[in-house]
């Protein structure tokens, strides 16, 4: 019959209307500041630096300041200066590690290229600040987050990374030659 | 009563004059509609509500809108016509209007004894009376008008359809 389509459409909207009062799935709104946020397991936005020991962030950070990520970052938003010890020898540790998150586009390329599993994607998003320049330039101290935190936000991925690192430690010998081959 | 009458007729006369004199076509039409509305008010004063309603329905709601539509479909959409339309023979026009007035209205005016007494009892301007009149003594006139309008409607349909037809014929 003519007009049945309209009636069907009306039924659909009516279902949505009444369903939204009883069915959580039909009212997915989360009232953000009051009712928490809606960060899912798969959410990624800016990178952070991983360290292993909760007591000693600076001592156990994984980054060796190899600057691969700095070179690969498409919008060039990473800035790294390697730390030098007293007699000028490189300390395999970044002295400065800045990410300008106003430029970072969350592409995750830095994570892909890092050979030391030291930079990972974060899922925090409450990053607004009244200071447009300094406030959006995250320093090493802001970026350092523990492996425990990593486990908390992305458990599967963190477990995978841990397993990989453990396997690597068991047979450390051929690692340096692999990239060349 | 008198006050309302004078206000309404003043509005009617002024807007009628403006409708004739204004250069901007849309303005002229709008004032023409104001005239129609004032006329409807006069009808209400004469207790002819139905006539007033029909006046607004037909003249403001249909005829006026149609005029506006016609203006919109012409080139000068904004209504600011720059070129002047020179009125030749304004005198003749005036003479014609006066002649019509004299032949049609004057006899009627002369026949009635002024000042008039209220005639509510003798004239029944209700819808029912109107309908009965249209159905009984004026049936022929009604039918003729209906026929005329139907013919006009059909003509409009034919005019609207024909160009499309010819295009299709060309294609085939």
């Amino acid at each position: 019959m003519l007009g049945i389509g309209i009636l069907k459409g009306m039924v659909v909207t009516a279902k949505n209307f009444f369903g939204s009062f009883v069915n959580k799935r039909l009212l997915p709104t989360i009232q953000y500041p009051e009712a928490g946020n809606s960060v899912t397991l798969f959410s990624r936005n800016i990178p952070f630096l991983v360290y292993d020991n909760d007591e000693d962030p600076l001592g156990t950070m994984r980054c060796v300041a190899c600057k691969i990520c700095e070179k690969e970052c498409p919008p060039q938003c990473i800035y790294i200066v390697m730390e030098k010890d007293a007699n000028g020898k490189p300390a395999k540790r970044p002295k400065v590690f800045d990410i300008d998150i106003s430029v970072c586009m969350g592409c995750q390329i830095c994570v892909e290229v890092c050979p030391f599993e030291s930079i990972k994607m974060d899922s925090t998003f409450e990053l607004s600040t009244p200071d447009r320049f300094e406030g959006l330039l995250l320093k090493r101290e802001h970026l350092l987050k523990s492996n425990t935190y990593f486990h908390k936000i992305h458990p599967d991925e963190a477990q995978e990374v841990d397993d990989r690192l453990a396997a690597k430690q068991k047979k450390p010998a051929p690692t340096p030659s692999t990239p060349a081959a | 009563m008198i006050i309302t009458f004078s206000i309404l007729s003043a509005i009617a006369v002024i807007s009628a004059l403006l409708a004739v004199r204004l250069r901007n076509l849309v303005h002229a039409t709008l004032t023409l509609m104001a005239f129609f509305v004032a006329l409807a008010g006069l009808f209400i004063l004469l207790m002819a509500e139905f006539l007033a309603a029909v006046q607004i329905l037909v003249y403001v709601g249909a005829v006026g809108i149609l005029i506006l539509f016609a203006i919109m479909l012409t080139q000068q959409v904004t209504g600011n016509v720059k070129e002047h339309i020179e009125a030749h023979g304004a005198l003749w026009g005036l003479a014609g209007a006066t002649a019509v007035l004299l032949t049609l209205l004057l006899p009627a005016i002369l026949k009635t004894a002024l000042p008039l007494q209220p005639v509510v009892e003798t004239i029944d301007p209700s819808v029912r009376a109107l309908g009965l009149n249209l159905m009984a003594p004026y049936t022929i006139a009604l039918q003729v008008i209906a026929l005329l309008l139907t013919a006009a409607l059909l003509g409009a349909v034919v005019i609207a359809i024909s160009p499309e037809k010819s295009e299709e014929e060309k294609k085939s």
Partner: protein, 417 residues
């Protein structure tokens, strides 16, 4: 002192108040005018506010959102916030606009919108202007709104406005025909243009005046025009045409924001915009009130005589409660439709009015005539009802099928599957 009758309480109060002014006829007339107009001007903007809130909430729920909930409990103060925002906004008039027409347009829209409310009978003896040509007056004044929309569109000197105005004229003039013609059937059956008589005709007075409460209830409902074949079809045609007449979804082409910004409202801001907005809703109420009056029995509804009263016409629940309930129900259906149907295309819009609604409405008039003269059995239209229904249904199907365009080939999507 007449016994208290809840149904007529307001009417009795008014009469009682006016009785003090008997010695000053001129003042009494003025007060009477005020008493019948001020409530209209007070009640309907209130209804408008509630409806905007209902609309926001309803649409939100239909779209799986919550809707306004920050202003007051459940966002009920949202209309007030809107109003304050509107009033505080700067009133911007385009430099090249036609100032007078631009200023007059909202007024020309507003005045008829409120005036037509006055021919609606809200209750027994509660009609602001009892004229015996109520329905035709309603349609006449309602047609003036076309003019206002055109004035708004033309005077803004903005091509979007002008397009909106043009669309509005074309649409309103076309849809006025099915609207009036479906109303004509009711007028024909009642034999009166008087809205109070139309309502009275839809009540079975013998049943209402009987002593059985159930019969009293039923007598207020069974006679509604919508329960007859011509009334049902007429109601549907009237409702659809009224949607177009007041530019509501899915016929809101004059203000189609995806195509022509906001149509005739593009150049309006602040208070004038608020006036437009309000008049639109008030005319929506008015037209819903008229369809309530014509087809849904006006102020009659399930109702019984109060036990303490022996006046056969007394009612327990005031009639205006039912009237407003029905009006709001129709309004909610309009909101529901707005949440469901997408906007029509211009040529479809015109075709729908001229090729579908108009023939149906004309058919409906014939069916109404047949129903009126068809033989009855104990007053029950045993012949008229089924045959009328069948004819209406068949003509609906036939006209619908005739209107089907040529079958188009199944559309092939190359990238989306």
């Amino acid at each position: 002192m007449t016994p208290i009758n809840p149904d007529q309480l307001i009417v009795q109060l008014t009469q009682w108040a006016l009785s003090f002014l008997d010695s000053y006829p001129l003042v009494a007339v003025l007060v009477a005018i005020l008493l019948s107009t001020v409530p209209l001007i007070a009640v309907f903007p209130g209804c408008f506010a509630i409806t905007t809130w209902l609309e926001r909430k309803g649409l939100a729920r239909i779209q799986n959102r919550i809707g306004p909930n920050r202003t007051g409990p459940l966002g009920i103060l949202q209309p007030a916030a809107d109003g304050i925002k509107m009033l505080l906004k700067e009133d911007i008039v385009p430099k090249t606009s036609d100032r007078l027409a631009h200023f007059l347009a909202p007024v020309v829209l507003m005045v008829p919108a409120f005036t037509i409310l006055s021919v609606l009978p809200f209750n027994r003896n509660m009609i602001p202007a009892a004229v015996d040509t109520g329905v035709i007056l309603f349609f006449a004044l309602g047609s003036v709104s076309t003019l206002a929309v055109f004035m708004a569109g033309w005077s803004s000197r903005n091509k979007y406005s002008l397009l909106g105005g043009m669309r509005a004229i074309a649409q309103m003039v076309s849809y006025e025909l099915p609207l009036v013609l479906s109303g004509v059937t009711v007028i024909m059956m009642t034999g009166s243009l008087d809205t109070t008589k139309i309502v009275a005709q839809q009540q079975l007075s013998e049943w209402i005046q009987s002593s059985n409460a159930g019969l009293q209830c039923l007598g207020q409902i069974i006679g509604w025009n919508v329960f007859t074949p011509w009334g049902f079809a007429g109601f549907l045609i009237f409702f659809v045409a009224s949607l177009a007449e007041i530019n509501r979804c899915p016929f809101d082409l004059p203000e189609a924001d995806s195509e022509i910004v906001a149509g005739h409202l593009t150049e309006y801001s602040g208070f004038k915009y608020a006036l437009f907005f309000m008049s639109e809703y008030v005319s929506a109420f008015a037209i819903n009130g008229l369809s309530t009056t014509l087809f849904l029995g006006g102020w009659s509804g399930p109702n019984i005589r109060p036990p303490w009263s022996d006046d056969p016409n007394a009612l327990l629940i005031p009639g205006f409660v039912w009237f407003f309930a029905k009006m709001f129900a129709l309004m909610l259906v309009m909101i529901w439709i707005r949440g469901t149907l997408p906007r029509l295309r211009v040529d479809h819009l015109m075709g729908f009015a001229w090729k579908f609604l108009l023939p149906l409405a004309i058919m409906n008039i014939f069916v109404g005539g047949f129903y009126y003269y068809a033989p009855r059995w104990h007053g029950i239209p045993v012949v008229g009802w089924p045959i009328g229904f069948l004819v209406m249904y068949l003509s609906y199907e036939c006209i619908g099928r005739l209107n089907r365009g040529p079958k188009t080939a199944q559309r092939v999507y190359h990238y989306a599957s």
